[in-house]
Structure formats: structure tokens, C-alpha cells
């Protein structure tokens, strides 16, 4: 079982929902549990919101890319933007750290991604954008067997 897709969309808040629907449609053939599906949607929301709010400073008309693929039970999701980038990725990942406290951000986006996914890889270059790679094994099928 193998598949791939790439969605490119405008940096508008309504596209957070588009990204969520697309990723759930894409993962449907893996028959995830509803819990797994909601976890994946949550992390996609976090990464897309980050691209819009932080990467592009809430400016619309910019490109965000959502790439998804699976091979057997492993789902790989990559969200990338060509925005401002992150100076210090380690600091950005710290729980509660936010560079936009004025927007009432929780600073928990990366922490949520790390908790809900098996693997999170953030690469960023200031001025050139950010790439967040997320991996998760779908274990639904094992569970169904007991």
C-alpha cells in the first residue's frame, strides 16, 4: 500500500480546514482509528497555522505546501512555507515558547506535534522558510485484531 499527494494553497485561515479535510481524505485508505485521524488533523492544523501566522505574518496570497505520502502503515506529512523562517529551532520547540505572545498563542504547537506524532523534524532557514516533517505509524489494524 503506497500513495502520495501534494496540496499547494494560499496562506488564508480558511485553508487550515482545507488542509485538515485533505489529509483525512488521503489517509482514509489506511483505515485509521478516529483518534489517529483527529491527532493527525490537529498536528496539521498546528503546522499550517504556524506557516500562516509566523511564517507569513498573517499575510495572504503566499504559498503553503502540504505533502503527504504513505507506504504500508507509515504516514509522512511535510508542511512547508517560504516565509520568515526560524532563527533558533531548539528554542522555538520549547514548550510554552512563543514569539507572538500578543496574539495569545499558547507556544504549544511543536510540543503537540511531538506528542501526537512518532517523529518530528523541523528544518528552517531565516528568510527562506520552514519545513516540518511529521511521521506516524498507523497501528489501527493491530488493535482491531484483539
Amino acid at each position: 500500500m503506497k500513495n502520495r499527494m501534494t496540496l499547494t494553497f494560499d496562506s488564508r485561515s480558511e485553508n487550515e480546514s482545507l488542509a485538515r479535510v485533505t489529509v483525512s481524505g488521503f489517509m482514509a485508505p489506511l483505515d485509521p482509528t478516529m483518534e489517529e485521524m483527529m491527532d493527525v488533523k490537529t498536528v496539521v492544523s498546528e503546522a499550517v497555522t504556524n506557516a500562516i501566522i509566523h511564517g507569513y505574518d498573517s499575510e495572504d496570497g503566499k504559498d503553503i505546501e502540504l505533502h503527504c505520502a504513505y507506504e504500508n502503515d507509515e504516514l509522512v506529512i511535510v508542511i512547508s512555507d517560504n516565509g520568515s523562517g526560524i532563527e533558533d529551532v531548539e528554542m522555538a520547540k520549547e514548550p510554552l515558547y512563543t514569539s507572538k505572545p500578543e496574539l495569545e498563542r499558547s507556544g504549544m504547537g511543536f510540543t503537540i506535534m511531538e506528542n501526537f506524532m512518532d517523529h518530528v523534524l523541523v528544518t528552517s532557514s531565516p528568510g527562506n522558510g520552514t519545513r516540518v516533517e511529521l511521521r506516524k505509524k498507523m497501528v489501527a489494524k493491530d488493535r482491531v485484531c484483539h
Binding site: S17, R20, V21, S24, G25, A28, T33, M34, E36, A140
Partner: protein, 77 residues
């Protein structure tokens, strides 16, 4: 869309958002029942079979539950 249509008399003017919101309530209820009975979250296919809906309907309705209230409020008026 079959299931969504079953909820409402569709004369061609019914908003998708309304059907999806109703379906979303059914999904939530069924998911809770499943959790109680089996002690784990159902898979997408299990829910689809329980509710006799397609995977597209499940995906759309799941997301509709989260969409801004305003859309539904106007629909229900």
C-alpha cells in the same frame, strides 16, 4: 452524500453545511457508544459501517463539527 440527504427533504436548496452538522452529531454519539462498548476508538471503516455512510461523508462531517458556528446559525434561522 446519500446519508446526508436522508436527513432532510432536499429540494435542491438545502445547504451541505446543515446536513453535515446533523451527521456530525450522529458520528459523535456513535463514537462514544463504541468507546463504551469496546474501550477503544473505532476506525474510520467501523464507523462508516455502523452509520452506513461513505468515507467522504465521514471526513466532511468530522470537519463540519469544527467549522465556525456562524455558518450553521444562519442556516438554522
Amino acid at each position: 452524500i446519500g446519508e446526508i440527504q436522508r436527513f432532510i427533504r432536499d429540494d435542491g436548496t438545502v445547504k451541505v453545511s446543515r446536513g453535515l452538522k446533523e451527521l456530525n452529531h450522529k458520528i459523535k454519539k456513535k463514537r462514544e457508544e463504541w468507546m463504551k462498548e469496546y474501550g477503544r476508538s473505532p476506525t474510520m471503516k467501523e464507523l462508516e459501517e455502523e452509520l452506513d455512510i461513505s468515507s467522504e461523508e465521514l471526513v466532511q462531517a468530522e470537519e463540519a463539527g469544527r467549522m465556525p458556528k456562524s455558518i450553521y446559525e444562519t442556516v438554522y434561522e
